[in-house]
Symmetry: C2
Subunit: 194 residues, 2 copies
Amino acid sequence: MTTRAESAARTRRALLGAAGDLLDRGGPDAVTLRDVGAGAGVSRSAAYRHFEDKNALLTALAADAWAAVAIGLDGILDDGSLTPESAVRVALESLSDLGRDRPHLYRLMFTAGPADHPAVVDAATRAQDGFLTLVGRFVGTDEARRYAGVLLAAAHGLTDLDLSGHLPREKWHADRHELIDLLVAMIARTPDLS
Amino acid sequence: MTTRAESAARTRRALLGAAGDLLDRGGPDAVTLRDVGAGAGVSRSAAYRHFEDKNALLTALAADAWAAVAIGLDGILDDGSLTPESAVRVALESLSDLGRDRPHLYRLMFTAGPADHPAVVDAATRAQDGFLTLVGRFVGTDEARRYAGVLLAAAHGLTDLDLSGHLPREKWHADRHELIDLLVAMIARTPDLS
DNA sequence: CGGTTCAGTTGACGATGTCAACTGATAGCT
DNA sequence: AGCTATCAGTTGACATCGTCAACTGAACCG
């Protein structure tokens, strides 16, 4: 037997799945509640039983994405085969790859509205703390915070620039992966971390 | 007397001004063609005489913003009182300040749709070339391109992270200006630019 | 001076987010 | 078991928005 709560939870997942598909395919504008309902096998305003409004639905998508990033970072933290430096590199490049693979979802993760929501803040904080630990193993806990900020921002900037087309190879003579590697190498070589 | 072409040009500027105001106040969703028309003293679909559609209007806004950035960089390039290092720092921080002052316009400049348009590409290219020259004076022309890419991406990432609320001071122990300074200082100290 | 171009207006249409009223099945209580 | 309340989901309706088509009138040009 499927209880009422179970079927409601399944519908909620179906709504999120349909919304994610539409987002990947056509960006936020393509995420219409009508199409989300159709994709989930329910109709129009069924989403209002699970989310306050359309924005809350997108916010939930962003929160799930941050949670997935946090889980990925946990995996990197537990991977003993990585040096501290390469662990940082893998973390940054996997975030950047998410941007490449799911650009609209990635953009949503860094959008002001959703980013203010508690659910997103919690998940993003978990991810950032994981990255902070990773960087701490790399440069030491004293300077970890500032360097983690620079690294995360640079990786995000490279990814975002690439998505908007402002990072053409011809111009900068490198792609986002090479520039991430360059940055991590720079930090590894910086002797004086004042 | 005001000729027809003059009044049309004035209307066009008024439309762009009204669109910019609405964008600053409430983001892209607040830019409705009806309100743009009202703000410009014309009505509803007058904008269609000057722009192909709403997206083209926003694209023109982004192109103007890039052009302004390029002009600002020209000023920095001509300022003899700046050292190469501080010129780079000033350039990056003024870009970041634009993000702080006009967040929605800033975001628009790095949005995929507009960024593909020739007018935006031209203006952005001019700005990026100016920055490239600035970085060339700083680290030498050989490695200028890669380091300019890293610097621009990092500054953009810091700005964008700050706008989305993902760069709280408590967490990273620094704000975007301090992290930009840190990055520029790191590059200045990096002895081996391989 | 007569016709033409063209900036700007108005009316209309489909799409969309959202709310209110409604339906029906399940959950819980007696 | 039976009655009632809850609540997921539906349908109808409305305001708003982008956009197009038809229209207007004044500046332009021969």
